[in-house]
Symmetry: C2
Subunit: 416 residues, 2 copies
């Protein structure tokens, strides 16, 4: 089986200054094309480390995909290193040069300097992959039956190159197996409880079908994976097991697609041609952000009132001052008034209102950090629930958003 | 010099189903303690791959930190593998058992099942690190002068263990050099233009001080790094160079700390005891989310009106229907009215209003995808600017938020 390693290069990856989102995206795209990633490795902008990584990974993998270190500045050493590694000679590439000139003249509208022109130089023994969004060209090398591809670390430049060139070229070069995945999402139940529920199913799975548990934020995703040479039989077989799996966990099933909670809610609303608004205190716009991540959100999402202050709650959501004073902002009474206020102000079919204490400060004796009140409903009926989350601020915000969306999902389904 | 490798384990990392945020966080924490990470590697839940990774990394590194694969389900094989790798015998650990019982009884309030109790089993030749937020204990092994530490992959469980146990224990075991970093943030200028501006400075840097360019979303961070045995001299030396660097780029300098744009704006507002609100269309709450990521945001942030529909713009922000109809939602007139509406509704010192077309759909001939109007200002004065971004939806939203915050920052500074 053809094996792939991804090498990401950059000191910033080793001191944690940036999160590596590139290799996750690459792995996702490769996987769809039946290209199996077996290792991902990150090294710094250090000559010996990069050299060793190339040596090591090419011993284990057939395809080595490299990102990063192609910028025009002195800390970027990937290109001269690759030139030496593959015993090439640096030459100016006409297409890459035209691309640099075009980007500076027509897109950036900035003068070109010597340093930028050097971006058009490449080792003479590589196939050049043009970069449609930046100045650094990609480079495709072949050595000892192995493929090495170097791409820029800037996410959209790498993505364009992967989609337009790298994946099609790899598909021409190799014959990949078909990889099939099925993923479902459950909510409201722990990983080990699910494992008990499906123990017999899991034991009876054939060796070549793998089951993975992916717990996250109060939800557990279950993924079945298989690979085979025949598309149809691989898909048929995994679908058969996937149907059984759905049946076993149906009580907790949110979706049988690999999609996030907000997408499930969005799909429900689109199908019913209905709309939603939000009134957010502690989540500070995060639920709005989730609901607007995909294009087309305006079809079902009207907007949010992020009421981070008492005054905003009073003026925009008509929460009464006395209710705020008597119950505090984190209370059932306040989220009910917030929900009603949002329905009135934004005139949507449904709404979500949240108010809580996300931490690390602000906890009180009767309302510790992590206390959250959520209300969901429509003009006829509002449902509330109190939660206490025990995590850090970021995770408490994520959990609040997820549970609120799940409450709304159940509310909508309960009306059918 | 003591070298560290991080091994993250999980099939989900190799098919891109999750983004690895753990190893960035770990690298950050280790770096602060002078512990240098030289490699990060991700492998699947595959016996041979994990075994090979342990062999390989321990040849190159002195400390091998491992996360993932410790869950109670069948796909998690890290613990039995480590038991075999270090020739141990599985035994029940009393402290870990008490912890499992406590978590189920007092926190999760769910019945314990056999599978959960097995979480308390560990190889008899490791030092157990208790997990305060989950059931999987951490394991510390020593072999051939190398340290191996296995931690859960759940982020908050790993973080607690790193902070409470792993870093203090490593500091006892080794003598680490002092690592000094200085980072500044510039905006409005490209990476290669900065490289020209500071070329002489960069060439004159001593060998042991490294300069890195970290471009991102219309901004470039510059980072100087150095390491030495003496804290004071290392810090003094790098500070000397950092002051020169700031001077060279002062025209474009946003901050001389390693902090995001929203933090710079927050600091400005706190120092002036002033407040801000936002009126967001195309960013869908993302600016609000950025401004409320840190505790204490209520001191300067009042709230946001996320007006994703025409109706919301009219009813909540008093944008006039005729202005919307004549100019369209993405126009200078509309963002000015949105800004005025937000100032009035939320009564803050400043406001930000944005309206744009984030893509992939919705572009028009005279307003292509990526067109954004931003307004910032106060009750006396509103400043507007039009941008055209050429990226995908996610990045267009991030760029809009960054440029809007930078416009507000400049506006506030211009009043001094």
């Amino acid at each position: 089986m053809i094996q792939t390693s991804i090498i990401t290069i950059g000191d910033e990856l080793l001191i944690g200054q940036v999160i590596d989102t590139n290799s996750a995206w690459m792995a996702q795209q490769l996987n769809k094309s039946g290209i199996r990633v077996v290792r991902r490795i990150a090294v710094g902008d250090v000559w010996d480390e990069i050299w060793n990584a190339l040596d090591q990974e090419s011993k284990q993998a057939d395809i080595i995909l490299i990102t990063g270190g192609l910028g025009p500045t002195a800390d970027d050493i990937t290109k001269p290193l690759l030139c030496k590694y593959f015993s090439g000679k640096m030459v100016v590439h006409d297409g890459a040069l035209q691309n640099v000139i075009n980007i500076f003249t027509n897109i950036l509208k900035r003068p070109i300097i010597e340093r930028n022109l050097k971006q058009a130089e490449v080792p003479d023994n590589c196939k050049v992959l043009l970069n449609k969004s930046g100045t650094a060209p990609g480079m495709w090398f072949e050595k000892g039956g192995k493929i090495f591809v170097s791409m820029p670390g800037v996410p959209n430049e790498m993505k364009g190159m992967m989609q337009d060139d790298v994946i099609p070229l790899l598909n021409n070069y190799f014959q990949f197996p078909h990889i099939a995945h099925r993923t479902l999402l459950t909510a409201g139940v722990g990983e080990s409880f699910i494992a008990e529920m499906i123990e017999d199913f899991e034991k009876a799975l054939p060796k070549h079908i793998k089951l993975a548990y992916l717990p996250n934020y109060g939800m557990v995703r279950l993924r079945l994976s298989s690979s085979g040479s025949e598309i149809l039989s691989t898909e048929d077989e995994i679908q058969h097991y996937f149907i059984s799996l759905q049946e076993l966990v149906k009580e907790f099933l949110v979706t049988n697609k690999d999609e996030p909670m907000q997408q499930v809610v969005a799909n429900l609303l689109v199908a019913k041609n209905q709309t939603i608004s939000t009134a957010e205190s502690c989540t500070g716009g995060y639920i709005a952000h989730l609901l607007t991540q995909k294009a087309g959100a305006s079809a079902y999402y009207s907007g949010s009132i992020v009421s981070y202050s008492y005054k905003a709650k009073e003026s925009l959501l008509e929460v009464s001052q006395s209710v705020l004073e008597i119950n505090g902002a984190v209370s059932e009474e306040v989220v009910i008034q917030m929900a009603k206020g949002a329905l009135k102000a934004l005139n949507t079919d449904y709404t979500i209102a949240v108010s809580g204490i996300m931490g690390p400060d602000g906890g009180m004796k009767d309302k510790p950090v992590g206390t959250v009140w959520i209300a969901v409903g429509n003009f006829e009926q509002i449902v509330t629930q109190k939660f206490t989350f025990n995590f850090d601020r970021t995770r408490n915000v994520e959990l609040t958003a997820t549970f609120a969306l799940n409450m709304l999902r159940k509310f909508i389904l309960s009306l059918d």
